[in-house]
Amino acid sequence: MTIQEQKAVVVEKQRVVVDGVDISGHWNRMFEQRTIFEYTPEQIEAIASIAGAESFAYCYQCAKCVPVCPVDVVGNYGPRKLYRYAQTGVNLMESPELWLCTTCANCLRVCPKEVNMVEIMPAVREQAILQGKFVPPELQQAFENTAKTGNPLGQPQRKRDAWIAKADVPVPIIKDLGRPVEVLWYVGSYPSYHPRGVDAACAAARIFTALGIDFAILGKEEKDDADSQRLAGEKGLFEMLAEYNIATFNKYEWKEMVVTGPHELNAFKNIYPRYGFNRPVVHYTTFLVRYLDQLKPLLKHPVRKRVTYHDPCYLGRHNGEYEAPRLLLQAIPGLELVEMGRNRQNGYCCGGGGGGMWMDSFTAKHTRMRLSEKRAMEAASTGAEVLAVACPFEVSRFEDAMKSTGNEHVGVLDILELLDRSMRGEEAAEHPQPS
């Protein structure tokens, strides 16, 4: 019998008197002896032998990671638990647990031993993929789409810049511009194709234009950053796109790159340097906050809403930006910012990171509720009317989660959309001019 199969057998004597004291029934309840120390190191060694996953073996099971793990909040998870499963003979490579981690890095924040799931998971997943082990089909679809069309949504490359027709302002394409620009704006796949993402992209275009920023986009030359695909284990796909993107970025003269999404920020700022790309990249919140003085007079229309803000893991914990999004929200007249219990460094993950964006159905089978639903409920419990986000994965995730948890009354808006509403007035923003 494996250790996992052992059940704790409870022994309880009906009648016991010790030194004249009656301890009958539950007073003398004890567990029968069982093996708790016998384990096999093979599975732990097998994981730790994979390049990048070495720190898995550092765990000394203090379990600080478990209560901060967003997956454990809605299920049964956490690095310490994965370590324990491995001790009892579970092969992580063939277990559904391999696909549940969102690489949100909250465990790493508290881990005294620096067991780094952000590196362990991609490394082990890559081996599982290469060895032909089970990979959630919906994730494979996202890989396949990215490989074939350059974006995980499977949309045609030639429509990558179709959204600009809805922006109400000219959005210059760097290739057509034929001159250097100050800012290269990397729009991203979801803002380019997803209907709600497009709303944020249009808002950004209007804000940049209103601020007089000299910007351009890559248009049809832009392809996915593939960072989440890397974290989900498809390093080859990531490298293929990184090579393409770096070559494309370097074709043009620009001073700084602004990205709409935190995952793109992470890719271009932290990972692409390994492939020879070392140019300045900032998230749009960090960028816009520099223009706060010019921005404030443009925010003419009050947005009288109670708003709470969700820290994206890859903007906050991974890249240390907590204040810029809040400063932008606080600059909007009439807006009241309230915090959720879990915020900033301890922000709760939306479930979209590390490939979770494309494993919702799979993850739902192994958790009590989706991480996005848990977070949507937290947002609703603050009494907020709007959940503000700063990651293109999140608008659709949280809008769905608000519906499925009965919180449709809470709107979900990107900070870009809120700024745009304040700039143009609610009515104009909700009924954009037909283009």
């Binding site: 290469l130 990979v135 890989f143 074939k148 069309t149 045609p156 030639r158 390093k235 080859g236």
Partner: protein, 251 residues
């Protein structure tokens, strides 16, 4: 089992097709694997998994980028990769079939699988022509090929939703409509690993064939009609729909 799978590299229809002179401007389009060839490749891999044997992936290298497809085929389970270096982006089914037949004949295959058609010419002729050159039987529009004792059992689709089950003695050429399972995903990590070490056999095109067709004019289709977008409230839209259906005698 000695299985040969034919891969066709064709212009991507996800892009707009630019026309130059009387031909597609092949320099301005991306080339992709014909989608039906993905099905025949999957079918070949499944037969190999069931019975053992070897899968040889072969194709005409029309633009000098076939290696990528051959690496993909190797990552999906092919054992051997062969390209016919033609550098002829406009090579039609007749010419490709002739070259392929010359290359495949010495391989003495038990089974040759081709995609039933390709979205560039949609003439579905590569399979029949190849079979004719190889002097082998051809069966097209098939799915779920199972091989047993020198005979293959498979489904064949006919128009109008009809289907039939065929039993054909090996060897033969089959035009695959669909594999019994969706094509497997080959991780790019694996493809890139394979690309480092894979050996691709290179053959020169051998033999001549001509479809006899001459392009007189190639032009994008002219948009002749427009869809009517019904606008308004759900009630107004419903009323308009009902009126339209009545008007056309459909309700």
């Amino acid at each position: 089992m000695n299985i040969v799978v034919v891969l066709k590299h064709i212009p991507s229809v996800a892009d707009e097709l630019p026309v130059r002179g009387n031909q597609v401007d092949f320099d301005s389009v991306d080339f992709v694997l014909n989608e039906w060839d993905e099905q025949s490749l999957e079918q070949a891999a499944l037969i190999k998994e069931a019975l053992g044997g070897t899968v040889t992936a072969i194709g005409v290298d029309v633009i000098g980028e076939l290696d990528n497809l051959l690496h993909l085929a190797l990552a999906k389970g092919a054992d051997r990769a062969v390209k016919i270096a033609a550098d002829d982006a406009g090579a039609d089914s007749h010419r490709q079939a002739k070259w392929l037949s010359e290359a495949i004949r010495p391989m003495a295959p038990d089974l040759v699988l081709v995609g039933v058609q390709a979205s560039n010419d949609i003439d579905g002729q590569l399979g029949p022509l190849l079979a004719a050159y190889l002097d082998l039987p051809y069966i097209g529009v098939v799915s779920s090929i199972e091989v047993q004792d020198g005979t293959a059992l498979m489904n064949k689709e006919f128009a109008g939703g009809f289907g039939a089950r065929y039993s054909v003695r090996l060897p033969f050429v089959a035009g695959v409509q669909v594999a019994p399972k969706p094509p497997r995903y080959a991780p790019v990590s694996k493809i890139r690993q394979i690309a480092q070490t894979a050996k691709i056999e290179v053959l020169e095109p051998s033999g001549e064939a001509d479809s006899g067709l001459v392009f007189r004019k190639v032009a994008p289709p002219v948009v002749s009609g427009h869809a009517e977008m019904i606008e308004g409230s759900p009630k107004e839209i419903a009323a308009r729909l009902v009126a339209l259906l009545k008007e056309r005698g459909l309700a």
